[in-house]
Amino acid sequence: MTTQSNVDEVTLSIWDQVQYTADLCVKCNICTSFCTVANVTDLFPGPKFVGPQAQRFRNPHEISVDSSVDYCSGCGVCTLVCPHGVKVMEMNAKARYKLYKEKKWLPIRNRMMGRTDLVGALGSAFAPIANAVLSNGPIRQVVETVFDVHRHAAFPPFSFETFQGWCKKVHKKSKLVSDKRVVFFHGCSINYYEPYLGKAAIAVLEHNGYEVIVPEDQVCCGLPLLSNGEFDAARDKAHTNIDSLVKYAHQGYRIVGTSASCTLSLKSDYKHILDIDTADSELVARQTYDISEFLLELAEAGTLKTDFNPIEATFPYHSPCQLKTHNIGFPAIELMEMIPGVTIKHMQADCCGQAGTYGYKKEKYQIAMDVGKPLFDQILETGSKVAICDSETCRWHIGKATGAKMIHPVELLAQAYGLLNYGKTTKS
């Protein structure tokens, strides 16, 4: 809609390129009109004001101009709808990082939220106790008072057995061996909360003839740290993962994940937000696939197995924000509709409100609920007991708000393939 600046031609770091896109803004306010947060609260004036407009006053050597950027949930709809190429969400992430960096100390809450792996490891090791604590009203009230974590925010129960533990104990010995191989990036949610989803993913991939490699040295993708303002710690995670995955990428193996946000970190955030731009990171990014994206490519090549048992049902499906930012469309819809009898109803919502760890925070919980309201209403209207979404924190948030049983697309595929008993333990 406007003349492109010649930013690309100048040698700038990825970060500076992002910052300079502020110059492409013509203040049309399209981003503001789509912003999921600004539409429900006055605490966030909107992406145009906080993004490109405030950017003009931001100086790396001076203190932050505006603390309202902390209310940006990072859903990224602004960047998607901007017709002029302004990287609004990315700009805001950087501004938020600086805002936190200026604080003498980062809230313990943010440090906790950023370390999903540490919290997960502890919670999982003491799962019965941790789960009792997390589902205890009075204790959650204390947690809210002390840590500013909202008492009603949805935390799934920890799994006593970690996914990695299962892989080492069971999968390693019994896995399918094949010359077709994929690498599975499971993320923290599968490791500590939803091992059954990881098993369903492996079952589906093996059913299609793929040997699944689960690198033991993979760590949290770093996104929770990133969105809680700890870029340096997030970069450490990123480098560990890149080092872990690049050897497989070199052999031409695809890296697949079920979490749309973890895979987005590998694909894009490492580069565009954390400024990691190496040959290795580039290769890992290129080889990374959302699992539905990967399976749909198999289907298009005619190599996906279609021995599905029919499931006669209509399911509401919410495509999470992070998936939209992959720029791959919504491959899960087409994939799931290959199952005879399945109809997918794509919900008309830009965001569920949760946005990773945003909705856990005391001061943001209500915003997350208000943002998600139209989606919740649509899901309830369908009357379906089951709803589908590709991202974990979205599933937990939507499940808690609607009472629907939330599943990942790959779980539906596993069910249709008759593989839900794979790995013996399944979701009750």
């Binding site: 003349t3 004036p45 998607l80 017709p83 694909k267 720029n327 469309g329 819809i333």
Partner: protein, 430 residues
């Protein structure tokens, strides 16, 4: 690598309509756009031909009556290549398409609504959402125009006085009220925020109360035939909002276009977007840039898109370029006076001397030369070179990217979009 029947690039009116109709015809369609498209900056109406000659002040009553003289005077206009039949087909197809959703568009190609614009000028347009069509000035009578102190882009007094001075047979009064909570006092409010507030019943009740208690109603003691609002009457639940206001006020209620972001434009965008997503199993890549396209031996062989992690190659049998003109981003410019089409590198009819781009006055009756710039087409909607040789037989152009569209003048922008869309669908569907 993905293979489609058709790839449509651009999500303005033309791109979305073509994509929806082809998906309806069971084509495997991929829609790619670099953002939410220009509909959010448009009125939400479909203008076909508003003035003839273009600098006339007298709005056209029936666009088809004037089409022949219009085309004689503007032989290179895109309508010449689409023909009248495609224009009619395009408008009818659009009506069928949008009225599948909760949108309620009214009108036909045979008649212009004469709507009040946001500054009280006349906006002749063929198709309009019911809420805007309700403002048709040819109905005459009295109207009260309601503005909000908080909405700084809409001045009801400016509209009413301009309408009255033109002696159009309507008598307009104006009132500005303080918006009730939660908008009240927020002087940075956008039309979209106001539209969301209107979806709440108590907000509407308070608005109606403020209108009924306003001086203009109380002192004059007279009633009005119609009540006009800026176009902020709800977003997703617009029909319900309109009906409720009419019930509470007991009269016809209409909307007047405001400055962007446009609420009626957003409603139309959402209606078409959701229709497409359902028809095409979600094959809409919004916020995805098409980096380049390759033409070999007179055919487009592929395009490449910028995904989160890589440049991805996409192949299709047909490609529709609906990326708009300079305003829409379909044509790029630079400080040296260069104008180019960034995806396929199509030749652009233009003048490289920037001093010739603009007329002396902003609202020059002859229009701005720069708005004539674009890519030449043939009757198949294929791009052609200077000697009218087609450059690619499976690439089709839709909308403002086409040379001589001049969408700001003569009020023909959306008509060009829909007529070219219809012509393209005919080509692709055979």
């Amino acid at each position: 690598m993905n293979k489609y029947d058709v790839v449509v690039i651009g999500a303005g009116l033309g791109g979305l309509t073509v994509a929806c109709q082809l998906a309806q015809a069971n084509k495997k369609v991929l829609l790619v756009s670099s953002g939410a498209g220009t509909l959010l900056l448009a009125s939400g109406c479909v203008d076909v031909l508003g003035f003839q000659p273009m600098d006339s002040r007298e709005p056209i009553k029936n666009p088809l009556d004037k089409m022949a003289t219009f085309l004689t005077e503007n032989p290179n206009h895109p309508y010449t290549f689409t023909g009248q039949e495609n224009m009619e087909t395009g408008l009818n197809a659009f009506l069928q398409l949008v009225n599948r959703s909760s949108l309620n568009y009214q009108g036909s190609v045979h008649r212009n609504w004469l709507l009040p614009s946001g500054i009280g000028a006349i906006h002749p347009t063929c198709l309009a959402p019911l809420s805007l069509a309700n403002g048709d000035l040819s109905k005459g009578g009295t109207m009260l125009l309601v503005g909000f102190k908080e909405l700084r882009d809409f001045y009801p007094m400016l509209v009413s006085q301009n309408l009255n001075e033109q002696k159009l047979g309507v008598q307009a009064d104006a009132v500005t009220i303080d918006a009730p909570a939660p908008i009240g006092g927020n002087m940075n409010v956008t039309p979209i925020e106001l539209a969301r507030a209107f979806e709440k019943a108590d907000f509407r009740r308070e608005v109606v109360k403020a209108i009924k208690n306003s001086k203009v109603i109380k002192s004059s003691g007279k009633g009005y035939d119609r009540f006009g609002f800026p176009s902020v009457l709800g977003l997703n639940r617009h029909a319900e909002v309109l009906a409720d206001l009419e019930k509470q006020l007991g009269k016809t209620v209409f909307e007047i276009s405001t400055l962007p972001p446009s609420v009626p434009g957003r409603r139309l965008f959402e209606g078409l977007r959701q229709t497409f997503l359902q028809l095409a199993k979600g094959r809409f890549l919004m916020g995805t840039k098409v980096v380049d396209g390759t033409i070999e031996k007179g055919r487009v062989t592929q395009i490449r898109i910028d995904t989160a992690s890589e440049l991805k190659t996409i192949k299709a049998d047909h490609y529709v370029l609906a990326t708009g003109g300079i305003f829409g981003g379909g044509l790029q410019t630079d400080l040296t006076g260069k104008i180019w089409e960034p995806i396929f590198g199509l030749p652009v009819v233009s003048n490289s001397d920037r001093h010739t781009w603009f007329a002396d006055g902003f609202l020059e009756p002859q229009g701005q030369p720069v708005n004539q710039y674009g890519v030449k087409i043939n009757a198949q909607m294929n791009p052609v070179d200077e000697s009218n040789q087609p450059l690619s037989e499976n690439l089709y152009l839709v909308g403002a990217i086409i040379a001589n569209s001049d969408w700001t003048r003569g009020r023909a922008g959306e008509g060009v979009g829909l007529a070219t869309a219809a012509a393209v669908i005919k080509q692709i569907s055979g």
